[in-house]
């Protein structure tokens, strides 16, 4: 993902963003010495729940309210394991009891429907209005319905699930896979960049192939990709050769991969080269920032939210921080880990700003595991810093599992993938 801003624009953005923060403290509508500084967090996923927890952990005196419509949040990470039969939905459901009871966060099962940046208020679906001194918006993604002709929300809910927000969508795709006949064809259709979880569709292909090889070995998975290349490509292709020879076919965008239209009734997808019928069709449509970010005027023409990379404060509205998939974070991918890392940086920055201190330069990390099958894991790591060009990966660090990794190392990575999940959800919701 490129930053797409000039060096000069970046510098302006950086300074104006922090100046906005300074105004928020010293010249804004709120009294600087209020009894309790109030932070409202919209969204209880990897970004928002991390921010809420770490705000309270770093400064227990803050009044933190977390607004999340779902009582149980199903994580996208490991939802592919559910599709492969290696985890259950229950295993990937996270709840808010600890954040509420142990950390004293005011968790509201509700949705934000409007933000008034000038007044510093958030209106909820229930009708309640919350006032904030700082707002964190972590709404994840929304889909661009209609970007693929014929693909609507209704099509996703009935015939062709996206399964790219875990929950009922994951269950629908799982149900279809279980019902499919041996010898069936599964189509997975990922979008162009940028999108949530770049290795996600390919881990999905791997774990669906795992299930099919065990139970329905005459079946096939075809990936019709809008892109010319994909995350961890060489590692995935090697893994597919080793574990599922002949079962997974990948087509690049310019060689007939790009899906332009679907017909849910006949389970057909159309590409520039022709059409393909699937027994199970998983369309992962193009994405943009979650709806509330768009409604609140936090997005730019790209559909994502520009932020100051020190504090993740919006460059559109001072006092509002945007983290996770919805924000534009330079070289960082849109991943749950990245969202959590950004949530912690935003939390630490907000604590410093309330204290009238300058936030520390950010340090950000991403670590994503993908499972090719049981005992076969691969990973990508990234360490990021702020430069004059924005958030960049630190040279000569991070990177992928070596392509020549031996079976022991791949097995170890698969174990660490489980360890990763156990700790990241504990660190955020536990």
């Amino acid at each position: 993902m490129s930053q797409n801003i000039s060096r000069r624009d970046f510098s302006k953005l950086l300074v104006s963003g922090v100046a906005g923060s300074a105004l928020g403290i010293f010249g804004g509508a709120k009294p600087a010495f209020a009894a309790k500084n109030r932070v409202v967090v919209i969204g209880g996923g990897f970004g928002g729940a991390s921010a809420a927890k770490y705000l309270k952990k770093l400064d227990p005196s803050l009044a933190v309210t977390l607004v999340e419509p779902k009582e149980t949040f199903f994580t996208c990470p490991f939802s592919n394991w559910v599709l492969g039969g290696l985890k259950t939905m229950q295993d990937i459901g996270q709840t808010y009891a600890v954040l509420k009871n142990r950390y004293g966060i005011n968790v509201l099962v509700d949705s934000a429907v409007a933000v008034d940046a000038a007044k510093g208020t958030v209106k909820l679906k229930s009708g309640a209005v919350l006032s904030y001194d700082r707002l964190i918006v972590s709404p994840g993604i929304d889909f661009k319905w209609g970007a693929v002709e014929g693909y609507s929300e209704q099509a996703a809910n009935t015939k062709m699930p996206h399964a790219y927000q875990a929950g009922p969508q994951t269950e629908l795709l799982l149900k279809q896979l279980l019902a499919m006949k041996d010898g069936g064809k599964v189509l997975i259709c990922p979008p162009g960049n940028p999108f949530r979880c770049p290795p996600g569709p390919y881990e999905r292909a791997s774990l669906i192939a795992y299930y099919l090889k065990e139970k329905k070995p005459k079946s096939k998975v075809i990936i019709l990709d809008a892109k010319e290349k994909f995350s961890k490509q060489a590692l995935f292709k090697k893994g597919w050769e080793k574990r599922y020879p002949g079962m997974i076919e990948w087509r690049a965008g310019t060689t007939g991969g790009k899906v332009t239209k679907v017909d849910p009734a006949s389970m057909t997808v159309f590409t520039e080269f022709g059409q393909e019928k699937g027994d199970v069709v998983n369309i992962i449509p193009p994405q943009q920032a979650g709806k509330i970010a768009i409604d609140a005027g936090l997005t730019d023409a790209s559909g994502w939210c520009p932020v100051n990379p020190v504090t993740f404060e919006s460059t559109m509205h001072p006092g509002i921080h945007v983290i996770g998939d919805a924000c534009i974070a330079g070289a960082m991918p849109k991943s749950g880990f990245a969202a959590s890392s950004q949530g912690k940086v935003a939390a630490a920055s907000i604590v410093r700003l309330f204290q009238g201190k300058v936030p520390a330069p950010p340090s950000l990390v991403n670590t994503c595991y993908s499972l090719i099958g049981p005992g076969y894991g691969i990973s990508v790591a990234g360490v990021y810093k702020l430069s004059a060009e924005g958030i960049v990966e630190i040279p000569n660090s991070g990177g992928l599992t070596p392509i020549d990794a031996d079976d022991d190392q791949l097995n170890e990575e698969a174990s660490f993938a489980r360890g990763w999940y156990n700790n990241i959800v504990q660190d955020i919701w536990g």
């Binding site: 970046f10 510098s11 950086l14 300074v15 100046a19 923060s21 300074a22 010293f26 770490y54 952990k57 770093l58 400064d59 020190v310 880990f337 959590s340 890392s341 912690k344 940086v345 630490a348 604590v351 410093r352 700003l353 009238g356 201190k357 300058v358 936030p359 520390a360 330069p361 340090s363 950000l364 990390v365 670590t367 990973s379 790591a381 990234g382 360490v383 702020l386 430069s387 004059a388 060009e389 924005g390 630190i394 660090s397 991070g398 599992t401 190392q409 170890e412 990575e413 174990s415 660490f416 489980r418 360890g419 990763w420 999940y421 156990n422 700790n423 990241i424 504990q426 660190d427 536990g430």
Partner: protein, 114 residues
Amino acid sequence: MTACLISSATLTTGSDLLAAQKAATSSKPAAGGSSARGQILSLSCSSCHGTDGKSVGIIPSFYGKSPQYLEAALKDFKSGARYSTVMGRHAKGYTDDEIRMIADYFGTVWQKNK
């Protein structure tokens, strides 16, 4: 007030801002007693290693370890002297000074929980 410095028009580039921030934050204690920089470098480690380094799964826990132990371990991962699957890739992202700040943070954070 340090924050006023940031709103000053004299800061015109990202590099200037970074320099100002480093000067303002490198040695000042944050809420936890460690430096603000040490804190921000350390917070992401807990995603894999558990909150405050207390792991609940197969990934090694380092809760309760000394700063000296942690610094030596991180430097060995960075140089490759110690085998790892992913830790070396992470450790290479930090300077020796940053490694010391991370070691100080996690080497002392558990003492405050006692």
